[in-house]
């Protein structure tokens, strides 16, 4: 065999072998048919460490075709290490088109955010999930959590949320906030900020979740009820921010705090970089936006 060529022609399309893809595809179909149920699957070793999105990459590799357009985000950003390397990986092993624009992508693989731009019906959102079992920190034994899901016994989760209220006066969970899918399974939305939970509810896009180390795949079909757990007197609330994005001035979006210097200087900017860039290109301005706009690395620390 000629191993000289630069592209990885010796790998199968999208890296995984066909038998693995079939196994993952079957798990995806079961996941869609049983919304919120974690389907066990024979997760493979991937050319990246656990915790870097091996589950999401396996799901994406199993569904992607040559006509797909892939977007990868890491905490909302298209330009961080994890996003850049996964995008490069699929560019190389599947030769698919890639984009940073939410609206142009057919598959969006995400680590811990749902894009601000509303998703449409043809899109598939693939989540990278570290701990798929929402009950795991309450009950470490898989045999027991499996029984709890089987019997729909979720009292423990409500006790946990109640203890939050007793200790802090409010539900202190801010990410991986448990949801109930279609009135049946309590499910981990992956460590997205709870800000994104309402976007999962009756989303027109198909949402697939892959956990590589924990060997689980689950799914939320389009137009499926996803309800964040809460109490009547302590209803679910999303985070609010008391200032708009410092670069694009967007309100009602999820913001990241960026430290500017070691004297306490900081700013809040959109975590969704594509959304922020689009808004700035459209002429929106935040109070820290540079005069010559676009180019994102010009935040030199002030001396």
């Amino acid at each position: 065999m000629n191993a000289q060529s630069n592209d990885i022609a010796t790998y199968n399309f999208a890296y995984l072998d066909e038998q693995t893809k079939r196994m993952i595809r079957r798990a995806i179909l079961k996941g869609i048919a049983i919304p919120g149920y974690q389907v066990p699957f024979a997760s493979r070793e991937m050319p990246m460490p656990y915790g870097w999105g091996t589950g999401g990459v396996q799901v994406t590799a199993s569904i992607i075709g040559p006509d797909d357009v892939l977007k990868v985000i890491d905490q909302g950003a298209d330009d961080t290490t994890n996003a850049v390397s996964i995008r490069a990986f699929f560019k190389k092993v599947a030769k698919v088109a890639v984009t940073t624009e939410t609206a142009k992508a057919s598959i969006i693989q995400t680590r811990h955010r749902i894009p601000e731009h509303p998703l449409n019906a043809g899109q598939v959102l693939v989540f990278q999930v570290p701990i798929p079992e929402p009950l795991r920190f309450l009950e470490p034994r898989e045999t027991e959590t499996r029984k709890m899901h089987a019997l729909e016994e979720y009292g423990l989760m409500h006790v946990k949320l109640y203890e939050d209220i007793a200790k802090h006066g409010r539900i202190a969970t801010t990410y991986a906030y448990p949801v109930k899918v279609e009135g049946r399974y309590v499910t981990d939305p992956s460590p997205t900020p709870k800000f994104d939970n309402p976007k999962m509810h009756r989303s027109p896009a198909l949402q697939l979740f892959g956990a590589g180390r924990e060997k689980r795949i689950y799914a939320v079909p389009p137009f499926t009820d996803v309800v964040s757990l809460d109490f009547e007197d302590h209803p679910f609330e999303v985070q609010t921010f008391d200032q708009p994005c410092a670069l694009c001035g967007a309100e009602n979006v999820y913001l990241d705090e960026v430290i500017l210097d070691d004297h306490g200087g900081h700013m809040f900017v959109c975590s969704d970089t594509d959304h922020c860039e689009k808004r700035r290109a459209d002429g929106h301005h935040g109070h820290l936006a540079p005069e010559t706009h676009l180019a994102s690395e010009e935040t030199e620390p002030a001396e």
Binding site: F13, K21, L29, G31, I32, I63, R146, A150
Partner: protein
């Protein structure tokens, strides 16, 4: 044509890409019950297995998935040989052992609860039924509701099993256990996962 040729001919021309095309059609159909996904003819299995059902089997079945065949398919040695050659899937002895069931004559098929339903702990260990239908529009209209459907959806496959609506209702009630159905029509397919609530539409 002798049986050896029949069993070897008619697989995917492009196994990797064709399997992906078929899977995406099934995935979209499963995620949006009642929508009709068009599919070009990618496989040419021996009759009475249809091109669509054959393509679904090629894209999902392998040596990990026992397949059950209904009597008309069971009777055809060339069908068994074709599936065996292209997928390597073992044949299930009873419907309850099957991961997939291929059903050429849905009208006479065994009851839905005769197939593997999965367990309360592992509801994914259930049979996926692949029903061969003539089309998806000429039968009695079925009104669909449930996950994947914005308001309601409609599909009208002819020649469905006896008491199909009632059987599906019972299938819903077994949730999370239950069977999922792929309707394979010539040139298109549609899915009815266990979550879809089906009503007969009054004419």
């Amino acid at each position: 044509m002798d049986i050896a040729t029949q069993s070897i001919d008619g697989g995917f021309a492009e196994p990797v890409f064709n399997a992906q095309t078929v899977f995406r059609a099934i995935m979209d159909a499963m995620a949006r019950p009642g929508t009709v996904q068009n599919l070009p003819q990618l496989a040419r299995p021996p009759a009475p297995l249809s091109a669509t059902a054959g393509a679904v089997a090629l894209s999902l079945c392998d040596n990990d998935t026992p397949v059950w065949l209904d009597p008309p398919l069971q009777a055809e040695a060339s069908v068994k040989a074709w599936l065996g050659f292209h997928t390597g899937a073992p044949l299930a002895n009873t419907p309850a052992d099957a991961h997939f069931a291929l059903i050429a004559n849905p009208k006479e098929m065994a009851a839905l609860d005769g197939f593997a339903q999965g367990t309360q702990e592992y509801p994914d260990r259930s049979t996926t039924l692949i029903l061969l239908v003539d089309d998806l529009a000429s039968g009695p209209s079925l009104l669909l509701e449930g996950p994947g459907i914005e308001r309601t959806s409609m599909i009208a496959p002819p020649g469905m099993p006896r008491h199909f609506v009632e059987q599906c209702k019972q299938n819903n009630q077994r949730f999370p256990r239950g069977v999922d159905i792929i309707l394979a029509a010539p040139g298109s397919l549609s899915c009815l996962p266990r979550t879809t609530r089906i009503k007969l539409m009054e004419a």
